[in-house]
Symmetry: C2
Subunit: 137 residues, 2 copies
């Protein structure tokens, strides 16, 4: 496996973009963290201007480095599958925690089959499951 930071450098390099403090900081705040809201991210990167955090996230999305997930009403941000294996989350409606699901080949296969049946080329997908976690029921 490639070191995540190295992979970030490579991705930026190959798009002729520079490896800057702001980009390093935002990336570090995402790495190994639970999905977080823009607000949390802005706070985690408080040495960086919020406008730059927005610009960086927007760039990271275009480069496929970051994904937005819908968690309840608001979106949250996390590193995309190339940095952190493909997965989905359970979200507890009581305590708000997100539980990461192991990758499930049956689920993935079924989705492919469903997309195929519509003559649709699936490029990605997101799943959010809401309910009650083991602590809350």
């Amino acid at each position: 496996v490639v070191e995540p930071v190295q992979q970030l450098k490579n991705t930026l390099r190959s798009n002729e973009l520079s490896y800057t403090l702001a980009r390093r900081t935002v990336f570090a705040a995402l790495l190994g963290s639970e999905p977080q809201s823009m607000n949390e991210l802005i706070w985690a990167c408080r040495q960086i201007d919020p406008a730059t955090v927005y610009r960086t996230i927007s760039l990271f999305e275009r480069l496929g480095i970051v994904e937005r997930l819908q968690i309840g009403w608001k979106y949250k941000l996390e590193l995309s599958d190339s940095f952190d294996n493909h997965h989905h989350h359970l979200t507890c409606r009581i305590c708000g925690s997100t539980i990461r699901l192991p990758e499930d080949q049956l689920l993935e296969n079924r989705l492919s089959a469903m997309a195929d049946a519509q003559n649709f080329i699936m490029q990605g997908h997101q799943l959010e499951v809401q309910g009650l976690c083991s602590n809350c029921h």
Copy 2:
């Protein structure tokens, strides 16, 4: 089947809420429409004050009448499963159209099993599949 409008009345009734012009208007704008953004909805209900549209959607969500889905970056709104059978969408990255998937029991069962395995009580879920529709590839 119960008429959707009747079901709305009943839901409001049983919560001791009134059946008003604003609520009728927002409901009508959702009924039989593709998932739409808040902006589109506000436009479709332009006879109603935007603040009231927000308040109505917020109420409808609490009552389980409406759901938010993530379509690309922004959320969209549609009637929930009690008004319109449970389903998911494919979203085309080129033309932006949303294709409704037929309900799929294998998928639903797999999700239940995955939630069970985490000792999680699933109360609902949302799925977004992105890719290329048959017209665009």
